[in-house]
């Protein structure tokens, strides 16, 4: 019976949402191998929210505790996970390709002498083997790889494996483990610098171009961003940054930032290739422009043709209503 280990993440004693994605991916693989899913959490004490992992397919939810695990402790984590994998004969080990996961997974792989498919966007079982798809060359190509050794280690790109409810028993198990003191110690987590959210971090980005006509009109976009309640940032095309209306740090495009938000609004932006180069991997693109021939409409998933000075305020009102 193949067991798929889903290494989950917690912070300050609370389960991180990305864990649902890891368990979802694990469930998919386990079903392909006719196996089971074990969710694993490492913490100093039992973690809030782990029981929900049963909803997403975990047969077992294991919490390994150690005083060393209050924060991420790379060496201790590697020891504990590797020991469990070796003793348990796990077939597959999944991680989130989060900042922590991308750090942890390679170490576990090297400890186990196994190969690692890092940051995958698709995962499945083909002919009894684990097959993964990974973006390469900045997403300009997709590589399909087969994991030929066992266990197979994979890290899943966040925000791709949409959590799917597949309820399973989720039998909890807690055990304390002893690990040797690590040399690498996480001293603290400083909060992100206060102030506006960076365009490269935000899940929603609203960019403005020359169509805004004047720098003061960016207030319209800032109001819309505010309506999304802290998840949205305001970006800018190269033209308006060149004109001095917005900071270069907000520029989206080939010579600015390349971003991949879940939702991208291109407001009054014509859609030159150098701009598209910076945002074409956004999950959903919405274009608002008065020129129906603007190239941006070819790339956008949804578009509204018309006067942005009427459309954007209306959008802001509606979003405010949605968020109550």
């Amino acid at each position: 019976m193949s067991v798929v280990l889903a290494v989950c993440e917690q912070r300050d004693g609370v389960l991180r949402k990305v864990s649902r994605e890891v368990v979802t991916g694990a469930r998919r693989v386990a079903d392909g191998l006719t196996g089971t899913v074990e969710a694993l959490v490492l913490a100093a004490a039992p973690v809030k929210g782990t029981e929900e992992l049963a909803r997403f397919g975990a047969d077992k939810i294991v919490t390994l505790t150690s005083a060393a695990f209050s924060r991420y402790a790379p060496e201790g984590f590697v020891q504990a996970i590797a020991a469990r994998v070796k003793s348990g004969g796990y077939r597959v080990v999944l991680f989130a390709a989060s900042a922590t996961g991308k750090d942890l997974a390679p170490r576990v792989a090297a400890r186990l002498g196994a190969g690692l498919a890092q940051d995958v966007t698709d995962l499945g079982v083909e002919g009894g083997a684990l097959v993964a798809t990974r973006p390469v060359y900045a997403g300009k190509a997709l590589a399909k790889v087969k994991l030929t050794a066992q266990p197979g280690l994979v890290s899943l790109r966040p925000n791709v494996f949409t959590p799917v409810e597949r309820p399973h028993p989720g039998t909890p198990e807690t055990a304390s483990v002893a690990v040797t003191a690590g040399r690498v110690v996480v001293k603290e987590i400083k909060p992100a610098p206060a102030g506006a959210l960076d365009v490269a971090e935000a899940t929603i980005v609203i960019s403005g171009g020359r169509g805004l006509r004047e720098p003061a009109n960016f207030k319209l976009l800032e109001d819309l961003a505010a309506a999304f309640g802290g998840k949205a940032a305001v970006g800018a095309s190269r033209a308006v940054v060149d004109a001095g209306w917005r900071a270069h740090a907000d520029q989206v495009g080939q010579t600015g930032k390349t971003i991949s938000p879940s939702l991208y609004f291109a407001v009054g932006i014509s859609g030159a290739i150098q701009h598209l180069a910076g945002m074409r991997t956004s999950k959903v693109i919405v274009a608002i422009n008065k020129d129906k021939d603007a190239p941006i409409f070819k790339v956008a998933d949804y578009g509204i043709v018309g006067d942005l000075f009427e459309i954007v305020p209306k959008l802001t009102d509606e979003i405010k209503k949605l968020h109550g």
Binding site: S98, A99, A110, G113, Q118, L142, T148, V184, F297, A300
Partner: protein
């Protein structure tokens, strides 16, 4: 300070990606190859640390084809002292195989620091650095955007979701560099000339296939054709419905 920096020769980030007829590799016609941008931060950090310490050595290690010699020379032109090319024409898809070859070469080198870029811009693997650290049993911090060294203790800062992780570690250690760590220098004219005379050893190596097999490479799926939802402010409610129910991003 004795510092090793591991670098890679990669296609320029602006490369138009065309897949070769074998369905598995990049068509290299017209492709410009450069020093991996994340490795530039690593080389720069090594140079700065050596300069601060007053004495020491910065050695460049590279696994790749013969053409990688050019890439090593770029690092030498920046100011590194010597280079080693582990020459192989076939680099396997499994980063662990690369890590094993590098670790074998670096072992016993009595390095104060071993630096990598956090990832290569071609394969986006993000793994060789920490794997080498594991094989050499050295402390490791990845994706470092800020580094402070005080004697034999280091404090690194790395970006995580919603914050900055502050990590303390002892030397010797492995660090992988992220953007923001420093501002890499351009090679000076004298550096470019001097680079030609610096030692560059070439060792032939042969790597196993490892635990990952590349089945093929394909262009990304075309974005589905979009739709104009409507005209003017009147179209907003329809847009929101689509965003909520069809695209599921709200």
């Amino acid at each position: 300070m004795k510092i090793a920096v591991c670098i890679k020769r990669v296609p320029d980030s602006e490369t138009r990606v065309k897949i070769a007829s074998d369905g598995k590799s990049l068509d290299e016609a017209g492709v410009k190859f450069v020093l991996n941008p994340y490795d530039e931060f690593a080389v720069e950090e090594a140079l700065q640390r050596k300069e601060k310490a007053g004495t020491g050595e910065v050695a460049i290690y590279c696994l790749g084809s013969a053409a990688s010699q050019e890439t090593i020379r770029t690092a030498l032109a920046m100011g590194a002292d010597r280079g080693v090319l582990l020459q192989t024409d076939r680099v396997p898809a499994d980063g662990f195989e690369v890590a094993k070859a590098l670790a074998a070469e670096l072992k016993g080198g009595a390095w104060d620091l071993i630096l990598f870029g956090k990832m290569a811009i071609d394969d986006y693997n993000h793994q060789v650095g920490p794997m080498v650290a594991e094989l050499l049993d050295l402390p490791c911090v990845t994706a470092v955007a800020h580094l402070a060294l005080e004697g034999r203790t280091g404090v690194a800062e790395r970006e995580i979701e919603g914050g900055v992780e502050v990590v303390e570690f002892p030397l010797p250690a492995v660090i992988t560099a992220d953007k923001g760590l420093n501002e890499p220098r351009y090679p000076a004219l004298k550096g470019i000339m001097a680079a030609k005379k610096k030692p560059l050893d070439v060792k032939l190596v042969s790597l196993g296939a490892g635990g990952l097999e590349l089945l093929g490479m394909a262009p990304p799926a075309e974005r589905k054709e979009g739709k104009i939802v409507g005209e003017g402010a009147a179209a907003v409610p329809a847009l929101l419905t689509l965003l909520r129910e069809e695209a599921k991003v709200l």
